[in-house]
């Protein structure tokens, strides 16, 4: 199956900074790809670049191949036809992502009538269907509610309904569950996964929550300071992380260290913060890296393909053949 989305060397430049520095990844139909990173990693800007929604002063470079076309070379007019219909996005804040002066029905109908040639009556019927699809109770009644009459979880579902209204091939969820309570988050993630299967949609889940990634993602890309530093299946990446940043992140996460209490010892820290990455000529993670070598300061490490699905941007990674040998001998 050819990749639906093939991003090659995507970079986003501002006059004074380059928050995304050459990121490449792919997304396949029906797959959930997670892009993990903390603040400053560039993950949200990557998502905006895919939609062509970067701020005015930003310049995108590289290639974004979607369904055979390079999105970066398209005119705004053509991009508008793709947005909402083939690629859709849902955002973090359900409070501000919906227009407060339009009913939710109006907002869904609006999207339907822009991209598909439906009469108002048909669009409204389809809107009610969509509300049912996203499990809004009593959709025929609630279609005329305003956003402020709905709870946060409901609003997020409405946003999802708007996003999948035209059966997009790709759905980008930018921290879509971060602002939700954990029980509502579970509902929304289950909904996204069901829709992924039902509509054979590719879903890019942008998040900083490793637990969500471990539970829901088919593949994970880890970003740091504008670069991809690790990629692979969640199981192996979380069991044996290779990049020191991924290792540090997993070690620092109380969620994935069950049964660990402060009386057992401190949490592993990654010292410093992302700010130390600015101005680094070599590896951006070097100032915080516990195994940094002098050579790390001079060249940005290349992405190594450790195995078919696994990539790491750090040369101090054990070569798999040796790992296999040692494992068979027994540690």
């Amino acid at each position: 199956m050819a990749a639906l989305l093939d991003v090659r060397d995507l970079s986003v430049r501002f006059p004074s900074a380059e928050p995304v520095k050459g990121v490449s990844f792919t997304a396949n139909p029906g797959e959930m790809l997670a892009i993990v990173g903390e603040s400053g990693s560039g993950k949200s800007l990557t998502a905006l670049a895919l939609m062509g929604l970067l701020p005015r002063q930003a310049r995108a470079g590289g290639q974004i191949s979607f369904d055979g076309r390079d999105l970066l070379s398209l005119r705004e007019r053509d991009l508008r036809r793709i947005r909402g219909r083939d690629i859709a996005m849902i955002f973090q804040e359900p409070m501000t992502s919906l227009n407060p002066v339009l009913t939710i029905g109006d907002q869904i109908v609006e999207v339907l009538r822009i991209h598909e040639d439906l009469s108002r009556r048909h669009a409204r019927a389809r809107a009610i269907e969509l509300l049912e699809l996203v499990s809004i109770p009593e959709p025929a009644r609630r279609i005329d509610d305003y956003p402020h009459q709905l709870s946060g979880g409901m609003r997020q579902r409405v946003m999802i309904a708007i996003a999948v209204a035209c059966n997009p091939k790709l759905l980008i969820a930018d921290e879509a569950t971060t602002a939700l309570d954990v029980t509502i988050q579970a509902q929304v993630l289950q909904l996204l996964d069901n829709l992924r299967v039902k509509l054979n949609m590719a879903v890019i889940l942008i998040t900083h929550d490793l637990g969500i990634v471990a539970q829901w993602a088919d593949r994970v890309v880890v970003m740091y300071a504008g670069r991809k530093i690790e990629e692979g299946f969640p199981g192996p990446v979380f069991d044996t992380p290779y990049h020191p940043y991924t290792r540090g992140l997993l070690a620092a996460s109380p969620r994935l260290k069950a049964d660990y209490h402060y009386s057992d010892g401190p949490l592993s820290e990654i010292p410093g913060s992302i700010i130390s990455a600015s101005g680094e000529r070599g590896c951006s993670f070097r100032p915080r890296c516990p195994v940094a070598r002098p050579a790390c300061a001079f060249a940005v490490p290349e992405l190594l393909s450790v195995s078919a699905e696994r990539q790491v941007a750090c040369p101090y990674v054990p070569i798999p053949s040796e790992v296999a040998h040692v494992a068979s001998v027994g540690r």
């Binding site: 979880g153 029980t183 509502i184 637990g211 996460s253 969620r255």
Partner: protein, 311 residues
């Protein structure tokens, strides 16, 4: 005698659509040197409870006793002495520091207000505190906007600890921070606890952090405490259906592609349901749950629940 003892505390606000019963009959105790966590989702009233304990909002009824003294009945003068002993760390590192004040001012002002005389002495204490929380010494001359989120939170911690309180109420102190910074701040809080013999009331919605950080956990739902247990006991066997649902909803790598979500939305504190507040979303709800509000009763081993069905 426990450090803090709360007896049937309620805080109601007049709201646009009727009274908001943010905290509705909460009783709890915190012993010296203990870290008690208060968990719940939005609208459960945990933040309001924290502020009510410090009388930053005025409770509507009930009593709060700190070291045996009744805080709820104190005059503002008497309250001043409590201020030294109970402090708060806030959630948003970007909003909790006055943007127009230097760190020096932020840290020395509380000392001046509480009678630490001599500017030099105050500056010494501030400088010590700044180093204690892991910031460089030249931080004193800077403004909050020159620091990152994690560093600002360190300043917030320094400010809370500079008066050497006994109890610190932490209102979601790491929720707004990146994962790698969370670990730093949590470790700092643990260190400060041992060094300064503190007790914490740790308010959070993140169960994983609570599991690491707390000695005892109180679970709140719609203004009431529904379960109270030691941390390990809670994770080994939660008794209240809401706690069970909460724990099940935490992303779990071992349950691939399968959430175990509970149905329904979080109710609003304007109109709590009759009977047990949770009965609408509860898989175990029976007739009695719809009519009678369960009392908070003690089970074996320091575990307490407010549920008709729990044993």
């Amino acid at each position: 005698m426990s450090l803090l003892s709360v007896d049937n505390l309620s805080t109601h606000y007049p709201g646009a659509a009727g009274t908001v019963r943010a905290v509705d009959g909460v009783s709890l105790e915190i012993a010296e040197g203990e870290t008690v966590a208060l968990v719940g989702e939005s609208g459960c009233g945990k933040s309001t409870l924290g502020k009510s304990l410090m009388r930053l909002v005025t409770p509507s009824s009930g009593r709060v006793h700190f070291q045996g003294r009744d805080v709820t009945a104190m005059s503002s003068k008497e309250l001043q002495s409590i201020r030294r002993s109970v402090q708060m760390i806030f959630q948003d590192p970007f909003a909790s520091l006055n943007p127009r004040q230097t760190i020096r001012t932020i840290l020395t002002a509380p000392l001046a207000v509480h009678g630490v005389s001599g500017r030099k002495r105050r500056e010494e204490i501030a400088a010590q505190m700044v180093e204690h929380v892991g910031l460089p010494a030249d931080a004193l001359d800077r403004f909050p906007h020159e620091f990152s989120g994690g560093q600002r939170q360190r300043i917030g911690i320094a400010r809370a600890l500079i008066l050497q309180p006994q109890l610190v109420i932490c209102d979601e102190p790491v929720s707004a921070l990146d994962l790698s910074i969370q670990a730093q701040i949590l470790n700092l809080l643990v260190e400060m606890k041992t060094e300064l013999s503190l007790s914490y009331l740790f308010i959070s919605h993140d169960l994983s952090v609570v599991r690491y950080f707390a000695d005892r956990v109180l679970v709140m739902y719609l203004g009431r405490i529904v379960e109270s247990a030691a941390t390990s006991d809670l994770w080994r066997g939660a008794k209240h259906p809401y706690t069970q649902a909460l724990l099940a909803a935490v992303p779990d790598p071992s349950r691939r592609k399968q959430a175990a979500p509970i149905t329904g939305d979080l109710p609003s504190p304007h109109n709590p349901p009759a009977g047990c507040r949770f009965h609408i979303r509860c898989p175990l709800a029976t007739g009695i749950c719809r009519t009678e509000d369960p009392i908070f009763r003690q089970l074996a081993g320091g575990h307490a629940v407010a549920c008709h069905h729990a044993q």
